[in-house]
Amino acid sequence: MPKYTGGVDGDEDDAPDSSGGKNRRKPGSLGQFKGTDALRQENKVVRDVSVKLGLTDDEAKKLHQTVSGQGLDYHGILKAAIGLFPAKAKAKGIKDQ
């Protein structure tokens, strides 16, 4: 799987690094907590999706409310954003993959 490069151009290398930082707790595992790097990575993924679609502050909040707590990766958050703002996605030529 290609490493996440932080790009916002819709290429495959927009895919996030699945490690999400050190010490990330996998579903069903115990004892490991998410560190600062993992949280920064999550911040970046959501911001990148917002920038990619050109979301307003109002829209970014709505996206946050829709995805928060679900532990989605980049593609999951992008898919949610496209579902919420299909006109913006269409205008930017972004399709759900």
């Binding site: 949280l39 995805v67 707590g69």
Partner: protein, 165 residues
């Protein structure tokens, strides 16, 4: 425009906080809901949210994208870099604010850091650390019923119309 922001943050005083949106997948970014619950035109499709948030948005809310910390009177309760999983300290700490009312606010200059003091004695401290113009990240947005006040990158203020809830 900073006068407008001062007036806007003062609108929080006296309002109860009734929900928080934060958790896995959205890093340190949090959304605190105050004031009245207004029914959404369409529910939010997020099974991790309480029904009150899925069905309603808040008349007033803080959407915080910069660093923050929640202090008790004698100890730190949680902060932006605590574990954000459902059983982690971030959510348990923030949830302790539910039902608490805003007692006062303090707005700093020139960066517009914001302290929100609650009746319980807890203080939410918002540190506007987003100053890199290249990144262009916002610090926080205050949503009022019809307008959104945003402290953008490097203390740049903007106001925008709030969309349909």
């Amino acid at each position: 425009m900073s006068t407008n922001l001062v007036r806007a943050v003062e609108e929080l005083v006296g309002l109860p906080m009734w929900a928080v949106v934060a958790g896995s997948g959205t890093g340190s970014v949090i959304n605190l809901l105050f004031g009245e619950a207004i029914r959404r035109s369409e529910p939010i499709n997020n099974p991790t949210l309480p029904a009150s948030v899925r069905d309603c948005d808040a008349s007033h809310s803080l959407f915080i994208e910069c660093v923050w910390r929640l202090d008790g009177e004698a100890e730190i309760i949680t902060g932006a870099w605590d574990d954000n999983q459902s059983d982690g300290p971030m959510l348990s700490g923030l949830t302790s604010l539910v039902g608490d009312r805003v007692k006062s606010v303090w707005l700093g200059h020139p960066g517009f850091d914001l302290d929100v003091l609650f009746e319980s004695g807890k203080t939410l401290r918002i540190f506007c650390d987003q100053i890199n113009i290249e990144d262009g990240n916002s610090n926080y947005s205050l949503f009022l019923p019809f307008v959104v006040h945003t402290v953008g990158c490097r203390g740049q203020l903007r106001e925008s119309e709030r969309g349909t809830i």
